[in-house]
């Protein structure tokens, strides 16, 4: 036991007490007192009872609650980890599917573009061919129309010239006019 200031102070206060208290002595040291002996026996019984109740009932209950909490927290953490893992996996699968879909879409776009290009080219080629045929046909028609017009031209010119001559000189001179028109036509050709 250390002689602390607190203990010295209490010892001093004890020493300052008037005679009766000290003369009577400390009740704790009256070992002949049956109550003091009984106190030890009762104390031992109470302490043993306390220990038994604590070790058999009270403390295991506290331990059970704490363990249940730890187990539950651990289970929740495991569930959370599993959920995170599943979410990560799902995200990865989503990303993979997205990438795959993008690749597929890109390939489809390329295919469609090529098909459209081929179709456009074919259509263009057909259109060109059709236009060329139409041009050829139109040129032929023009030539035919031109030839036909040329054929009618001598007759119209002869008739017109004859009419003019008839009105100017009083006779048509049809044969001379026809010959002159033919001569001019031959010169132009």
């Amino acid at each position: 036991m250390r002689l602390t200031p607190r203990f010295l102070l209490s010892a001093a206060s004890l020493a300052a007490l008037p005679g009766r208290a000290l003369a009577a002595g400390m009740p704790q040291l009256d070992f002949k007192n049956p109550l003091l002996q009984g106190q030890v026996v009762w104390g031992a019984l109470i302490f043993i009872g306390f220990y038994i109740i604590l070790s058999r009932s009270a403390l295991p209950k506290v331990e059970q609650v704490i363990k249940a909490r730890v187990t539950r927290i651990q289970n929740d953490l495991d569930l959370a980890r599993a959920a995170k893992k599943a979410a990560d996996q799902a995200r990865q699968e989503l990303m993979d599917a997205r990438q795959k879909a993008m690749d597929h879409a890109h390939a489809n776009i390329l295919t469609i573009q090529e098909a459209a290009k081929a179709a456009t080219e074919a259509q263009l080629s057909a259109t060109v061919q059709r236009l060329e045929a139409e041009i050829r046909e139109s040129e032929l028609n023009i030539r035919l129309a031109h030839d036909k017009a040329n054929e009618s031209l001598s007759e119209i010119a002869s008739d017109t010239a004859s009419s003019l001559l008839l009105q100017v000189i009083g006779r048509d001179g049809k044969e001379a006019v026809q010959k002159a028109v033919k001569r001019v036509q031959h010169q132009e050709v």
Partner: protein, 249 residues
């Protein structure tokens, strides 16, 4: 307790029979009664604290769990893995002393830890238990610890008696430490409380001066709260240290 000129600071430690003749026959005093109350309070604290068994604990349950974990850490941290075996005993010892110390601070109560017979009984229990545990784990070889390792053999006749004396003084120091602290605190409280009553009888000046012992007593009560906890902790940790030595090879 106190009359006009005398202070009976030790009267508070006297034992009185309770329950009349039955108490006298069974040697029942107020001390076992307060032991029962203390034990009942601790058990009620644990029972009502743990009754909800909630995953998210309330205040009382948190306090009960903290008490459990505090003593468990103390026992396992000091003794080692085998500390779990002694944990209920350390828990019982700590809370028996703590509740006894704190219960004694209430007016008209009794501090059973201020009786050397009680503290010595507890200290001897710890001492005998430590010897039995030493024999269980180390056999008779535990007596080798009375000769410090590396010490010259020629010093054995001096060292061994000193070590044995030091070992035997453990229950004495353990019991007197708690007993003396409790007695000192309660004597001081009684003395200063008596000063207040004495000064109050001196008239107006006395009334003014009587404030000082009251203030001192308030401070002493705060100190006693600390000392009560500290002494219970010291008793428990020393028990753990003795048991650690006992289980160590």
């Amino acid at each position: 307790m106190a009359n006009e000129s005398k202070i009976d600071a030790l009267g508070q430690f006297e034992l009185h029979p309770i329950l009349g003749s039955v108490g006298e026959t069974l040697r029942l005093s107020q001390s076992p009664l307060f032991m029962l109350i203390a034990v009942g309070l601790v058990l009620a604290f644990l029972y009502f604290g743990m009754r909800p068994s909630a995953v998210v604990p309330g205040r009382l349950q948190a306090a009960a769990e903290m008490s459990y974990e505090f003593i468990r850490d103390l026992a396992v941290g000091t003794i080692g893995e085998k500390g779990t075996i002694f944990f209920p005993f350390i828990f019982a010892l700590f809370f028996f002393i703590l509740s006894g110390n704190y219960l004694g601070l209430l007016p008209f109560s009794f501090t059973f830890t201020s009786h050397i017979a009680v503290t010595l009984a507890m200290a001897l229990t710890v001492f005998i238990m430590a010897i039995l545990v030493s024999l269980r784990y180390q056999g008779i070889g535990f007596v080798k610890h009375f000769m410090p390792e590396g010490a010259p053999v020629t010093l054995a006749p001096i060292l061994i008696p000193i070590e044995i004396l030091s070992y035997l003084s453990r229950p004495v120091s353990l019991s007197i430490r708690l007993f003396a602290n409790m007695v000192a605190g309660h004597v001081l409280l009684e003395v200063f409380a008596s000063f207040t009553i004495m000064l109050a009888g001196l008239g107006v000046i006395g009334h003014v001066l009587a404030v000082a012992p009251v203030a001192i007593n308030i401070a002493l009560t705060a100190l006693e709260l600390l000392v009560g906890l500290l002494q219970a902790y010291v008793f428990a940790i020393l028990t753990c240290i003795y048991l650690r030595e006992a289980v160590a090879h």
